[in-house]
């Protein structure tokens, strides 16, 4: 059950502060102890979230010694008599303030924005008139405005060290340090380069902790005002599966968010990344859809409307910077319509298709960006109204294989432990996960553990950011995971580093595993993975000797035709070492989307109803028929790629796509283009005109994350409330109300008062969510399952005594190594790997409209090893054309040793050079996930194209 490793109880000490006795645990600082008494000792360099350093000296107090002591660092001692204020102490504080103020800029950026400049507050407290300070003026310190999100004013810097600790010890990015000596000392980025040119990842932690005007958030178009003048909305981040708790500060007069603060949730401890802190302004971008749109008659037969989507490589009028759908190119194909007209049309066409071709000719893609409530009503619409199980979402493209393996082996697809418990692990394996870019805040917990002594093992074909923190980094050949982990297990079994008791008591099928592992000595794996056998042994032993080992994995494991096998190996490794069900152990496939866990939990997958209850189980079917009052289809539905294939074959004729953009996110775009164009009827419900919407018959304007309230379940299984912060633009409607309207017009009554009522219906049908209510989800959500929602946080560590399998035991499912579906050859000699960038989200619909994120990563590029480039005679920055058997794209190339020789990495966010034009749509046989991480490509130097040149330059 939920267990935390408690620190041993500390001895209590009693001291007196300003004559008042106080008893606190030993090690408590004077500053903390005083605060408990309500005595606020002024301080500039200290923040309770940071390790105290005692450099500003403002908090000095008299402890009866020869010299004054800094209260923020000095621990209280028995019998200590502390005086926090006296004439001498106050004079000292006042002089310090004067020293700092004498060269302070006339205008503090912090005072001008948030209005909470702590130095100026001290100046007011001591009644200091800056003009009257008798000190000579200094020569000034410079400004650095090179970062798109943070303004640096060295003149306002008081060298308090907060930003340095935030960067080094909270976010573990190690960018900020000090340079120079004496008065010339100042903070510096990397080796004293401008912030915007440094390795800064723009997480904004430094600006969040800075007490002065030295580091401040730049405005994202909406002026930043003091918190009290804005409306604070406690919500969560709309981006990744970490689901950071955020407070958004809303300027009501502009219906826009001015800035965001992290909240102290267990999941993010007030930390945020660049997307969470600076990526919200897409919601009030002028291109938001605000009216229902119906395709004009003259734009039939349907097809793509913009040059990019047609595959011409550029828009007809030259691409606009920003790489988003050119509305002017696409909008003429549509006319505005009333909601009634649009919804009636949608209902009528779906009814017609169902009547003519049967319910399974209809299909729907929901979205892992939408709430649990929206996922629930959407799958209910498909099942109860359309009459089909053909409903899926992008989980198919991310962890379908992981979930298949988890269900088969341990009986549950969710994580067995939260990422934050890495603090209790002594070994952590990060496999095929670019955690620092894709789950930046979860990565801070891993980096923190690694800095505190947890052995971090990273296995990847690309040297990702997390690899820099690893104690052991194994760069394996792409797609060779099964061979590597089989060899690890070979070593564990051979050297008897396995948990016999766990294997005996809690698992089955060990003999079969043993037999397979026996055939994978490290020497064999060396030939497949390219890692020396000695290294494989060394690292396997570290894992085998771990007291508590935690395994994280990402798309590098799952997005292969053998993705399920990859995951099976990791699961076997965990079972072999008894690494499930205890603190510091567990299996954690890091979920990508903010609500991919929740959308799956809510049944937005073709094989199961909410809470993974099989559609093929008659008892389950009866239960849902009873709950929904209709007969249900007992046949499992089609998955994402299968639906596209169905469209091509005309077995699927009508589709409802809610908040997904398969044109860019699905593999083999040229096929997707044909599939989308061949649909009889397509409804796209979204907040922007996406690439997919170009193929739509009807486009319905939906609400963004910030305009609605709902629950979202993060990678930890933490169910949290995202609260409405903004009013929707124009006629845009809440997604779930649109779904209910379509249901009603198709003859099924689906009415809810609000999202909370939907949630209550979901929890009544999903045993894992049982007992959860909106009220109990305040303020930081709850982990499911949660037996005591009123008091508990939910169960952190699952399966401490049994697995939810028929036998109660976990099952070893051995896997044999098999190569990727399409191997490089003479014609296509490179291996393509796709992935994400820290600053962008999936198809860029949101992030390319967020001004800061766009400014940092404005254009498409691919990354190759410098050796390969030299060999090909290509210079970094040149345009290259990448060709696969399925398509080609042209983009600039960057040189980086992070990508191995023989490999090409392409981020898939960029429509103008869509990585998925190249990818292979071959599927994993179990998880039905496509092999997005591996296909063969050719690299050619491309001739410079002036229009492209112009288009991809900075805006």
């Amino acid at each position: 059950m939920a267990s935390a490793v408690g620190a041993p109880a500390r001895r209590l000490v009693t001291c007196s502060i300003d004559g008042r006795p106080v008893t606190v645990p030993e090690g408590t600082t004077i500053w903390e102890a005083a605060r408990q008494l309500g005595i606020e000792i002024p301080v500039l360099c200290h923040d309770p979230r940071l390790r105290p350093v005692g450099v500003c000296r403002v908090c000095v107090v008299d402890v009866g010694e020869r010299v004054l002591a800094a209260a923020c660092v000095r621990g209280v001692a028995d019998g200590m008599k502390v005086t926090t204020t006296s004439e001498g102490i106050e004079r000292c504080r006042k002089t310090l303030t004067e020293l700092l103020l004498s060269d302070y800029p006339r205008e503090s950026r912090r005072e001008a924005t948030l209005g909470d400049d702590e130095l100026l507050a001290l100046a007011r407290r001591y009644g200091i008139d800056r003009e009257a300070i008798p000190l000579p003026r200094g020569d000034g310190r410079r400004e650095d405005l090179s970062s798109p999100v943070i303004a640096v004013d060295h003149a306002a810097c008081i060298l308090c060290d907060r930003c340095i600790r935030a960067c080094d010890e909270v976010q573990h990015n190690d960018v900020i340090g000090r340079t120079g000596k004496g008065y010339g000392a100042r903070i510096a980025f990397d080796l004293d380069v401008p912030m915007g040119e440094s390795t800064c990842v723009s997480c904004g932690e430094c600006a969040a902790v800075c007490p002065t005007g030295a580091l401040t958030h730049k405005s994202l178009g909406v002026a930043i005002h003091p918190r009290a003048e804005l409306r604070a909305v406690d919500s969560v981040c709309p981006y990744c599966g970490v689901g950071c708790a955020v407070t958004y500060y809303v300027d009501l007069s502009k219906n826009a968010i001015a800035f965001a603060d992290g909240r102290p949730s267990p999941g993010n401890d007030s930390r945020l990344c660049v997307k969470g802190r600076y990526g919200f302004d897409y919601a009030f971008h002028p291109q938001r859809l605000a009216k229902p749109l119906i395709r004009r008659g003259e734009y039939y037969p349907k097809g793509p409307l913009s040059g990019d989507v047609r595959g011409e490589g550029r828009g007809a009028r030259g691409r606009k910077p920003g790489g988003v759908v050119d509305s002017e190119e696409v909008l003429p194909a549509f006319r505005e319509a009333s909601w009634d007209e649009a919804l009636d049309l949608v209902a009528r066409r779906f009814l017609e298709i169902r009547a003519t071709h049967g319910p399974d000719a209809l299909a729907g893609f929901g979205s892992a960006k939408c709430s649990n409530e929206e996922a629930y009503v959407f799958q209910k619409l498909l099942r109860a109204v359309f009459g089909t199980n053909n409903g899926d979402h992008c989980t198919r493209l991310c962890h379908a294989s992981s979930v298949a393996a988890l269900l088969e082996t341990i009986g549950s697809g969710a994580v067995t432990n939260v990422y934050g418990d890495v603090r209790n692990a002594d070994v952590v394996l990060v496999a095929g996960s670019n955690t620092t870019d894709n789950h930046p805040v979860a990565a801070t917990f891993i980096k923190d553990a690694a800095a505190r002594g947890t052995k971090l093992l990273v296995v990847d074909s690309r040297e990702t950011g997390i690899a820099r923190h690893a104690h052991h980094f194994l760069r394996i050949a792409p797609g060779s995971d099964v061979a590597l982990y089989n060899a690890w297990m070979h070593v564990l079994i051979e050297e008897d580093l396995i948990d016999h008791e766990f294997v005996r008591e809690r698992t089955e099928g060990f003999d079969a595993l043993k037999e397979v592992a026996r055939r994978y000595p490290p020497e064999l794996a060396e030939g497949i993975c390219g890692v020396p056998a000695g290294r494989i042994r060394e690292v396997a032993r570290i894992f085998g000797r771990a007291r508590a080992a935690l395994i994280f994995w990402g798309m590098g494991i799952s997005q292969h035709t053998h993705g399920t096998d990859n995951a099976r190996c990791l699961i076997s490794l965990a079972l072999l070492s008894g690494s499930v069900g205890r603190p510091g152990t567990g299996l954690h496939p890091l979920r990508g989307q903010n609500n991919v866990q929740g959308a799956s939990d809510a049944g937005l997958i073709p094989m199961v109803y909410p809470d993974y209850q099989s559609v093929e189980d008659p008892a389950v079917q009866r239960q849902f028929e009873e709950a929904w009052g209709v007969a249900l289809n007992p046949k499992r539905g089609l998955t994402v790629v299968e639906i596209m294939e169905g469209a091509l074959r005309k077995t699927v004729r009508g589709m409802y796509i809610l908040g997904e953009n398969p044109f860019l996110s699905d593999p083999n775009i040229n096929k997707v283009r044909k599939a989308l164009a061949s649909l009889d009827f397509l409804v796209v419900q979204d907040i922007f005109l996406t690439e997919t919407a170009e193929f739509a018959d009807v486009i319905l304007p939906a609400t963004s994350f910030f305009e609605k309230t709902g629950t979202y379940t993060n990678t930890d299984r933490r169910v949290q409330i995202g609260r409405q912060a903004l009013e929707p633009p124009g006629d845009a409607r809440l997604d779930w109300t649109i779904v209910c309207e379509i249901a009603r017009r198709m003859g099924y009554r689906m009415e809810y008062r609000d999202a909370e009522e939907i949630f209550d219906e979901l929890t009544s049908l999903a045993p894992s969510y049982a007992g959860l209510t909106y009220r109990s989800l305040e303020p930081y959500g709850k982990l499911w399952p949660c037996p005591d929602p009123e008091t508990g946080d939910g169960i952190q560590i699952l399966f401490d005594d049994a697995f939810p399998t028929p036998s109660g035991r976990a099952k070893f499912v051995p896997a044999e190594y098999q190569p990727a579906a399409e191997l490089p050859d003479d014609e296509y000699p490179f291996v393509l790997n796709t992935g994400r960038l820290l600053e962008h989200w999936h198809t860029g619909t949101m992030t390319r409209r967020a001004r800061a994120l766009h400014a940092i990563q404005p254009s498409a590029f691919c990354e190759m090893n410098p050796e390969d480039l030299e060999h090909l005679g290509i210079e970094p920055g040149d345009l290259v054309t990448l060709r696969s058997r399925r398509g080609s794209i042209t983009l600039r190339v960057q040189a980086s040793p992070r990508t191995a020789p023989g490999a090409v990495f392409v981020p898939f966010h960029f429509r103008e050079a869509a990585a998925n034009a190249l990818t292979n749509d071959r599927l994993d046989p179990y998880g039905k996930i496509p092999e997005l991480k591996f296909c063969a490509v050719r690299v050619e130097k491309a001739l410079a194209d002036e229009r492209l040149e112009h288009a991809s330059g900075p805006s």
Binding site: C56, R57, C92, L96, L100, L159, R178, G182, Y183, A185
Partner: protein, 430 residues
Amino acid sequence: MAYPFAHPREVRIVSKHFGDAGARPVDGWVERGGYRAARKALPEMTRDQVIATVEASGLRGRGGAGFPTGLKWKFMPKDDGKPHYLVVNADESEPGTFKDREILRWTPHQLLEGAIIGAYAIRAEHIYIYIRGEFVDVIPVLRRAVVEAYERGFLGEDVLGTGLRIECTIHVGAGAYIAGEETGMLSSLEGRRAEPRMKPPFPAQAGLFGMPTTVNNVESLAAVPHILVNGADWYRQWGTEQSPGTKLFSCCGHLRRPGNYEVAMDFNLKDLVFDLCGGPRPGRRLRAVIPGGSSVPVLTADEIDCPVSYEGLVQAGSMVGSGGLIAMDDSACLVRAVRRMVEFYAHESCGQCTQCREGTAWAARILRRIEEGEGRDSDIPLLLDISENMAGKTICVLSDSAAAPIVSSIQKFEDEYWAHIRRRSCTAVS
């Protein structure tokens, strides 16, 4: 002038072989009685006996703070199972001080022997000698000596056949004065900026790499072999109860015979200046003396008739410090001299603590303003106010060091300041 010049009133113990190039190589050093103490201590004496002898001798740290060396060693934990380190502070950078450089230059083995004994006493397996980077001529001498000590088995896996392992690494500093502060030195050795650390924890609890560490000055360690060979009582024949033994004074400034002089610690400061150093230059009058490096308060010529003991100099209003004696005659402008010193501290402040980083910089600017005749009446109280804030309130004592010359010079040479402020002139005689 000190070598071969040796004044008969000196008591040359650590400086006995200054000027004697034959003492530099290990053979020469052994011929002169070197490593006898190590041979005696390691096999024959227990660690506690070594510490007890040094404690009984009353030897105090010669780097500036004057903390009893034996007591410092005693603070090191026993049986804690952790690696211990001995760090030798050879980053001699205090303005006016040049004694350690001469010990290292002439008698590197004298230091190594003391360090080996110290390492034995505190259970250190590793000695780090942090040497000032500007000592370009001394560094090869020390390197050579360490190689010799390894060759002779004074260092290495099996020191003097006792089975004990003591390694020694020379670390060359990169030019920051603050690296001479003991915790700043530890930060620097760890590869960080030489930023001093908060105490507690003291280095004996958590020092280099977080392990129990002792930091000793070169001169202190150089005295140890003599104490072990001759006994605590022998050492105590010089000096006073609280300040036993001898001390090297690096004498510079307006003197006829500047140089290093080793005297008993009850020696008279005035005699040191006038007799050993020959007094001021012809036709000049002594004006001020800083007896212990630029970090200690300045004395007027009238105040120097006192013993150079720790307590004697405190009573006179100053400190032994590092023993860097700076003499100024009537040609010296005190405002200028102090401004120059404060600029040094402003330049060398690591920048962590507010009052040091800002205070030294502002004080230097105010002093310059005064020196250039632009001072205001309010500048003197302002300087005193800033100085008060700089002393006793920071992580390390660098800002105390900067405050000392300001406050003492204002106390003792206020006229000089007023001459600059009110008359735009100087009392110095050209």
